[in-house]
Amino acid sequence: MHALKSVAGAAGLGMIGFYLGLGFVAVLRAMLGYPDAWGGEINIVGGYVFGLVGWLMGIGMWGIWIREWFGLKTYQRRAPGWQRYFTFNTDHKVIGIQYLVTFIVVFLLAGLLALGMRLELASSGMQFISHSQYNGAMGLHGILMIAVAVAAVIGGAGNYAVPLMIGADDMAFPRLNALTFWLIPPVAVALLATPFLGGIETGWTAYPPLSTTTNSSQILFDLAIITFGLTSILGGLNFIITIIFMRAPGMTWGRLPIFVWSMFVTSWLAIFFTQGFAVALLMILLDRVAGMAFFSAEAGGDPLLYQHVFWFYSHPAVYIMVLPGFGLALEVISHFSRKPLFAYRYAVGAFLGILGLSGVVWAHHMFTSGMPNYLHGPFLVATELISIPTGLIFLSALGTIWMGKLWLQTPMLFAMAVIFNFACGGVTGIFLADVPTDIHLHDTYFVVAHFHYTIVGGEIFALFAGIYYWFPKMTGRMYNETLAKLHFWWMFIGFNLTFFTMHLPGVKGMNRRVADFPESLDNLNMLVSISGWLLGLSFLVFMYNMINAWIRGPVAEANPWRARTLEWQTTSPPPHENFPEQPVIKGHPYDYGVPGSVHGVFPNSGLAGAPSGSAGGGGQ
């Protein structure tokens, strides 16, 4: 069993590294004369760092990469069939699937936590869990879901589809790509270990001074998220280089599929802003383990500094989440409407506009924080400006659908739902961006409803559009369309019932992050809880359909959707090098209904003579 050997070996090395690290720090501390050499949180930091290195070396980085630095010959563990998903595999298709499956599992786990929370919140008073368990579950739900939202579409769909769509044989740095995935399991382990160290008490935002004084689980949170930030940055870097340098001949920027554009812009966001999260958490880490004073007001620090640095990342992060979702939705909408993507240039411009604006709006999360009054106006203005480029995405989506030949298969339904849901999520964003309304709404369930509408309604729906869209390509098998449609309608209705209702308790006076609330809000919360469970159960259909189809679904065609982009012009699943030969791009990917148009050709293949423009509808 190659798979077992590789993962178990790496985990073993990781454990050894962990204890070595603990001990190493302890020895250092003893030498420096600290009284309690073993007890500090800094030991955990040392253990984590050593453990991480051990894990990475064990999983394959040593063999395929690091040996090179010492002038040794590199080698790669080869595993057959499904087992390759458990090795340090550098094929972008394998990595994409690794990402997707991992994050679906994380999504389900975190969703289960949410269902637990909704159980407690079904009525006022404390029924099932304690305040501390609730806080822990809430924080873990939040951060796991944020991780899902940041990485599932980018790491999963992005890794799988981007090289295929631009006609490349792989990403620019395949080993780096594998590294970004294999950094994820330690992150997951660290986060899932937090309940055993007292639970995340701070929510996903980790505001100090609470986070500098709370229990030790915070240290794992910091380490995990710094690592996670690293994968975002390295992944973004890889995408940018891939998209700039590895496009097929003829794939000009104006012919780039819109999903690739969205990934490109997102990657810039990721490499630029993610450092903010890392710096913010690093400061907390230093305050905790090294006795520094970034956020202690008595010693000249300032807790607001954290909020600025944190939101400097975390606002752009919401666009890191949603832009690939938009790209994916537009992509699917064009193919399934059988029309050119409407206002393609405007959509690209919208992505760039969001890229530009997203860096100057962060303090809209801090309107009631007690930051100086002169900051509110500029951030209000910038925040509301961002709805203009976002509106252009809607222009593109609605224009494409209008008068189209809509093939309402599951991916299309999900893509249309993205637009539907995000209209609601975006408009409620305007309520929050207006300071006079935000003063009341801040930190209420209105905000919770807003961001579930944007993240779940926008991005997670897009994620499912992508999963159904590329499932035949990835697995070579077809899912059951009836079950998939059932999943869609069930999820769509459950989602809107849950989260539309959730606005109401917010306005009526229910603050977030509480396990208990005034009984006057009982009815509304019961309704939200019931619909939340309804929503949760829809994923059973999804899981059944996916697992069943992957094992014994009917064999899929190479191009079941009759789509034009390159990934459909190769086998399902594609061969290791993606295409039998280098494709050459001749036209726009979305030129449906344009006689004689082609997107790409394989010039040397006997079948693939490029039709000359004059051939009109004649083709070959």
């Binding site: 395929i64 630095w69 010492f70 002038g71 010959k73 590199t74 080698y75 790669q76 563990r77 080869r78 550098t90 094929d91 044989d169 792989d170 620019a172 740095f173 395949p174 080993r175 940055i233 973004g236 870097l237 890889n238 940018i240 280089i241 700039i244 340098f245 490499i271 630029f272 802003f273 993610t274 450092q275 903010g276 890392a278 710096v279 400061m283 230093l286 090294a290 006795g291 520094m292 004073a293 970034f294 202690s296 010693a299 000249g300 620090g301 300032d302 500094l305 600025h308 640095v309 400097f312």
Partner: protein
């Protein structure tokens, strides 16, 4: 088992270099946000105030680091002309100057009269510490590269590791060019 990573094998060499170089630049771009945020935090918390520092030492280590960039540059140009001997000495000098710089920072830490649990101390130790960690990793990379150079691995046409390590070294140097005045000179 032992197979060399195939995915990258069939791409032409120059293509590869271009990707590496651009990737490294992007990495610097991302890292400068890290350093930029630390700088911002420094001015956010303390304005343009600062504590008394050993000016002579500060100036000294700055010169040392700037010099090391020159020697690093020398090493790179030398290998471009297949002058291994000069490249060798260039790398050795760079590593030595780097160690000297790190030692200087360490000395500054030991004589600092402020403590890390006050605002300026927090900023000073964090900024110099994070920068020094980059210097030290840079030294590590240079040592690895230097060993490979001794084993004769590099030629004028194939010396990306040297070029990359030197680029990284320049970057770390440039960061210090911003940190030094922010920590030692403003006021």
């Amino acid at each position: 088992m032992a197979v060399i990573a195939p995915a990258e094998a069939h791409r032409p060499v120059h293509d590869h270099l271009k990707l590496n170089r651009a990737g490294l630049w992007l990495f610097f771009f991302s890292e400068s946000v890290l350093f930029g945020l630390l700088l911002t935090a420094r001015f956010y918390l303390e304005g343009i105030q600062r504590e008394e520092l050993d000016q002579l030492l500060g100036l000294g280590i700055t010169i040392v680091l700037l010099l090391s960039s020159v020697t690093a540059f020398t090493a790179e140009t030398a290998i471009e002309h297949d002058n291994r001997k000069l490249a060798n000495w260039g790398l050795i000098a760079t590593i030595a100057l780097g160690v000297l710089f790190a030692a200087g920072v360490g000395y500054e830490w030991s004589i600092a009269h402020f403590h890390r649990d006050e605002a300026f101390g927090t900023l000073f130790f964090t900024m110099t510490g994070i920068h020094a960690s980059h210097v030290i990793s840079g030294i590590g990379i240079l040592v690895l590269v230097w060993v490979q150079l001794l084993r004769g691995r590099y030629t004028s046409r194939d010396h990306w590791p040297i070029a990359g390590a030197v680029m990284y070294w320049h970057f770390v140097d440039v960061v210090w060019v911003f940190f030094y005045p922010a920590l030692y000179l403003v006021n």
